[in-house]
Structures are given as C-alpha cells and as structure tokens.
Amino acid sequence: MTAALAKSTAHSIVEASPRAKAVAGSLVILYAVITILPLLWIVATAFKSQSDAIAYPPKVLFEPTLEGYVNLFTVRTRQTPDFIAKLPPPQTWYDKLVRQRDMVIAGPSKVVPRFINSLIIGFGSTFLAVFLGTLAAYAFSRFRIPLADDLLFFILSTRMMPPVAVAIPIYLMYRQLNLTDTRLGMILLYTAVNVSLAVWLLKGFIDEIPREYEEAALVDGYTRLQALRKVVLPQAVTGIAATAIFCLIFSWNEYAFAVLLTSGEAQTMPPFIPFIIGEGGQDWPAVAAATTLFVVPIVLFTVLLRKHLLRGITFGAVRK
C-alpha cells in the first residue's frame, strides 16, 4: 500500500523521483571520490620508491616497486658496492631488491611485534569492555539500581577528560605498580575507557528488548542468568556487534596513551607508524605500507558488520 501511494506521488520524500535520485547519486559519488583521493595517494605511495615518493613535482604515474613493504619489514645497513659484490648471491626476491640500493638486510624490523601488540590489546580490551558492558547494561536496564541516572552520567563523564590529562596520574600509578609498558596495563586502561561507551550503547539496545520474553522464561523456571543467556543475548547480538566495532576502532587507533605509557614491549602500531624513518628522512613508502596494512583489519571488521553500525551509532534509537 505504501509503495502504491508512493508511486502515485512522484515528488514525495518517501520515494524520491528518478531525477532526484540521479542528482543525489552524482553528488554523493563526487564527494566519495574526492574523499577517497588522499587514501588512494597513500596506498599508491606504498608502491613507490623512496625518491619517487618525495619527487617534486609529485608523481602520479610511476614505476611500482615493493620496496616500501620490504623496508617496512626489515632493518637494513648501507654497504659499499665492493662489499656487496663480495657477498654470496641474493637468495630471495627481497634480498635482491635491497641489494640494488647498495644495502643489506640486517634483520627483521619491529613492525610484526607492534602489530601483534595492537591485535592483543585491541581485541583484548574490546572483548573485556563488551563483556563487562553487557553485564552492567543488563543490570541497569532490568533492575532498579540506586542512583542509576547519576551513575550512568558518571560513567559517561569519564570520557570527557582529554587522554593526556588522564595519562598524568595513570603514568604515576603504573610506575608504582610496574604496569608501564605492559600489555596488561594497556588492556586495563583501554577497557576502562571503552566500558563507559559500551554500557551506554548496550543499555540502549537492551532497553529495546521487551521484558515479556524474560518474564516468560522466568515463569517457565529458568534462572535469571539462564534467561539472560538464552533469551536476551541472542536478541542483543546486533547491538553487541555495533558496540564491539566502536570499541575496537578506539582501541585499535589510539595514540595518546600508547605513546605516553608504552615504549619497547607493549608499543602498538599508532605510535610506531609515524616514526618509521629511512636514511635521513621519513621512509614514506614504508609508512604508507604500514598505514595500508594497519587499516585492513578494521575495514574488514566494519564492512562485515556495517549493518549494525547504523543501529549502534544512535544508542539503538533506530527501530528495526
């Protein structure tokens, strides 16, 4: 019925006219293309040689090479051509690539441990935040907690401090507890920051789930915990997914805490990438390669769960 009515009024907002659609489409596509150009430049820079990356005027067409990626994963030393001539012939394609620049691979770079740290700290804190957040949100939603409104605002207000400000006492505290530069310390910190958002988001979602289902389950003899697991959680999955995306994006991309509270052991990728240097200047192809690789997991995660993003972003205000 709606569709029929829509078709009869060609200018209704409900269903736009084909011309309106075309105009809207072209404007959005124009914006999308402009907005993606910087990213394309970065992805392209990862395949340039170092001199191409800083060529002036900047090169749009260039000969692609995998040097950026090789430089990202290795540590190299410069040698004289005679020394290189005396070495045994290169074993692998990347050895050959590096030798062409009069350099020799001295070992792996620190990028893989940093990436692993990002994975552990990112996913670890996301899981913990969502786990704790779900429980707390359920409690706030279903039970009468004293001072609930104030508690909820207190939880939200913990996000209002600039990270640098929070880092001052945390730095001192972690110093005493020997938690500086540990993965556990960073997981705890990121969980604490994320759990406030998680509680707010998840409470919104769980509020939406009608209580009748749980009541029925309770009447049928389930414990509260069983009702939670069998009835509420399956319906809250989309909300949990949306919350998980936001928590992960924060923990994955966080810089201020990481740069102030980690150094060698627990350092993640964001403090590492902008400081990848080559001989003298920043190694732009390697930085671009690292940026590209680092954004891939987030993009995958988001694309897979993008339907839930929309719901999550407004605390579940979107009705199904």
Partner: protein, 452 residues
C-alpha cells in the same frame, strides 16, 4: 546462539591468553646468555655503532640489543623511560643537555670510580666534549658519561654548482667578489639570495636550508648558530643566572632578526617545521644550494649517489659581527642506574674507550671525541669534512644543561618559532618574553636570579 557461545569461548580464551601474555610476557624475556640493551637516537651514526658493536660481542660474548628512536621523539621517549625508572636500557647515549637532570635525579651511574679503576682519563678527550657531555656540575670533576659522539652544527654546499663558470661569472658580476663558501653570515645571505629562485638543470632551486622545527629542539638548535655570533649569551659570565640585558641585548635581537630575514628571503617553500631529516631530503633532492645540519650526517651525505663525492663541499658555521661559535651537538654514553647489568655495561664502556676502537668508530662514520684520534696528523685528510669538524669543535657553545633544561628549551622553541615563523611581535619582544620565561623557571627551582 551456538555461534555466540563459540565466539565467546574462543574470544574468552584469547583474552585469557592475552592477559597471561601481558602479565608474564610484558616484562623482559629471560635471556639465554648475557645481553645488553643500548638506547640511542635512530640516525646514521647509530647504524655505525651497530657495526662497531659486533667487535664487542666477539670479544666479550655479550650480545648487544639496540633501541633506536627517531630524533623528534628521542627526548620524549627516553626522558619518560628514565623518569619511570624503566628497565629497557642498560646503556644510554643521552643528549648532552640531559646531563644536569640525569646527575641530580641519579638516573646515571657516576663514573669517577670506574674511570680511576680502569685508568680512563678525561684528559684524553677533547675538552669541549668532556665539559659538554660528561660533567655535572659544569667545570667540576664529576663525570656521568664517556664522551661518545662529538658533534656540532656545520654546513654543506653544492660544490658542483659553485664551480660552474656561468654561475661564478654571474655571482662576480653581481657582488664583485668570487663565489666561495661564506666566512660570515652576511656573505652567506648574499650567496643564498643569489641562488634563491635560480634555474639549475631545469629546476628551480633555493638558497639555504635552516632549522625551523617547532616540536622538539629544531629551531633553537638553528637560531643559536646565528645568535651566538651576534653576541647572545645565556647568562652573565660573571654572575650566574643573570639574564636581563644578556639574553635580550640589542645585539641579540639583531641576530634573531637576521635569522628571520634569512628564513623569509632565501629558503625553500613549506619549510615551516623542518629539522634534520627534511634538510637531508631537501639537499639530496637538489632543492637547496646550502644546508645547515649536524656533522653526524656528513659521512652519509658524502656517500650519496646524487649529491655526494665531488659534488658536495663543507664549511664551518660562519662568523657574525660579534663572535664565531657553533652550536654543540653530540652525546656521551652512560650506564643507567636502574639497569640489572651494570657490570656488563661498564665493560662495554671500557671497550669503547680504547683508542683502537675509537679509531674504528671514526672510520665507520661515528665521531670520536678522543684526542688521540682527532689530533692525529693524518686526521684532516681522513675525510672531506674532517678539517671543518676539527675547527668546529674548537668553537662550540652549548645550550643550558640544567635539570630544568627541558622547560628552558621549550620556552625558547615557543618564543623563537612565534617570531620567526608565525610573525608574532618583534625580535626584542620575543627575547624579553624569553627572559621572563626563564626567570620563572629558575625561580621555581629556587635559584637566585639577579636582574642586572
């Protein structure tokens, strides 16, 4: 629902595993055999040190691990490390200005007894480096580091451009003298103006490259090279911490104005936040005729396929109307007080101090501070920049090395960058505000600051 359970159980075990890793794997891994971690900045000399260190490993069986951090975050990262009593570094090659803080806060091991025991004499090292990198308080026999890397600000220039007949002719016609590396800043400015905007080999080039970096220490390390030579001093030589009329004298203001004029007239566009790396890029890509940078980079520049060898020349920081100095760089190597391997670390220092090792250090691209190396008769011929390096080390002057040096440095960074790059106020005003800033810092420290 089953998927949810599975998801939760696998992620739960992942998190437990992560937490376990965090708890047990977060600290230092137990090493098989001995090992030392050396912390420094990530630049060419660091790579040379890695090469050199292989000898130490062969001799002693101690494996060397390195933690190199780019210059722009070097102070941040390692002062953070030292402040939090971290265990990452056993040996640290800390910047010369950290010496005050390191001594007062007991971050470094005092080396006097060690030097006596191993018969390492500070008289064997270039005096400027001993005072600059090792002593605190200054000019007292208390040693906190072994001078490791002697460095100063110098200049490179495109010798190949300077030798082109048509360029020489054009310069002579315009200025009435031969084109040659400048001996004074006025001469440098003339040469820079001459090259600014000129077409060479089909590309537009620019006159000079100078430091303008805002975030760490860049513009200060650049501007002092001019200020010193116009008569700027940190305080009254006769009265410590007396700065009024010394820091902000009329001559000093003229020097600051000169640096700004040079920045505005004769540098490449977009160099508003540039330090060592950008200078190397600019020079190597053929954008500038002259480049201000640290001697530490000159071995690498000399080897560069595009601008090295015959194409590159070097000159000492030019003189000004009231002096001839250059900014001191360089670092000493120290043992971190919280290290668990102090004995091994000291053995590294003992090895490093040997004349033979110092000689090899120079050959590999480091800058030795040992008199035996730099006073050797064939030293000036050992590299194209060796004579300039020798001359520079004789005229070096350093920034404050007080424990509060970071505050003093950041205040100067702000005032100078505000004036030179952001066009705020006059040079005199900038220096007046700087005196106010510095007075406040010293007063907080409890020092007496006389007003004249």
């Amino acid at each position: 629902m089953r998927t949810l359970k599975w998801l939760r159980s696998t992620t739960a075990s992942a998190v437990l595993g992560a937490a376990a890793l965090g708890v047990f794997g977060g600290g230092e891994a137990a090493a098989e055999g001995k090992q030392l971690t050396l912390c420094w900045a990530a630049w060419d000399p660091a790579n040379a040190l890695v090469e050199l260190g292989k000898d130490f490993t062969k001799q002693s069986g101690i494996e060397m691990k390195y933690e190199f951090v780019p210059w722009t975050s070097y102070a941040d990262r390692f002062l953070n490390e030292l402040n939090s009593h971290g265990k990452l570094c056993d040996l640290i090659i800390g910047d010369s200005q950290w010496i005050g803080g390191a001594a007062e806060n007991k971050w470094y091991v005092k080396l006097n007894d060690f030097f006596d025991k191993e018969k390492i004499s500070m008289d064997d090292f270039v005096p400027a480096t001993v005072v600059g990198y090792s002593q605190w308080p200054k000019n007292s026999p208390n040693y906190w580091a072994l001078p490791a890397m002697a460095d100063a600000v110098g200049w490179t220039y495109r010798k190949d451009w300077f030798s082109r007949p048509e360029i020489q002719a054009a310069f002579k016609a315009k200025y009435g003298r031969d084109l040659a590396p400048p001996k004074s800043y006025d001469e440098l400015k003339q040469i820079a103006e001459f090259f600014q905007g000129r077409e060479i080999d089909g590309k537009k080039v620019y006159g000079a490259y100078i430091f303008t970096e805002r975030g760490s220490e860049g513009i200060t390390m650049g501007v002092t090279n001019v200020l010193y030579n116009y008569g700027f001093n940190y305080d009254n030589p006769k009265k410590a911490y007396q700065m009024q009329g010394v820091v902000n004298s009329a001559d000093a203001a003229k020097g600051l104005e000169f640096y700004k004029e040079l920045y505005k007239c004769c540098t490449a566009p977009g160099m508003t936040n540039a330090y060592m790396q950008e200078g190397l890029d600019a020079f190597k890509s053929g954008q500038v005729a002259m480049q201000m940078n640290w001697f530490a980079f000159f071995p690498g520049l000399y080897k560069d396929p595009n601008v090295g060898g015959d194409k590159i020349g070097f000159f000492v920081n030019p003189a000004g109307p009231n002096g001839h100095f250059t900014q001191l760089g360089g670092q000493g190597i120290s043992v971190v007080a919280t290290s668990d391997h102090k004995e091994d670390a000291l053995s590294y220092i003992k090895w490093f101090a040997q004349p033979a090792v110092q000689q090899k250090w120079w050959q590999l691209g480091g800058y030795s501070a040992l008199k035996a190396v730099v006073d050797a008769p064939d030293f000036p011929k050992s590299a194209a920049f060796a004579p300039q390096f020798l001359e520079s080390m004789g005229i070096v002057k350093d920034f404050w090395a007080e424990p509060s040096y970071a505050q003093l440095l950041l205040d100067m960074q702000k005032r100078v960058h505000d004036y030179v790059v952001a066009d705020k106020g006059t040079a005199q005003q900038a220096l007046d505000l700087l005196v106010k800033d510095w007075t406040k810092v010293f007063k907080e420290q409890g020092k007496e600051v006389a007003s004249q």
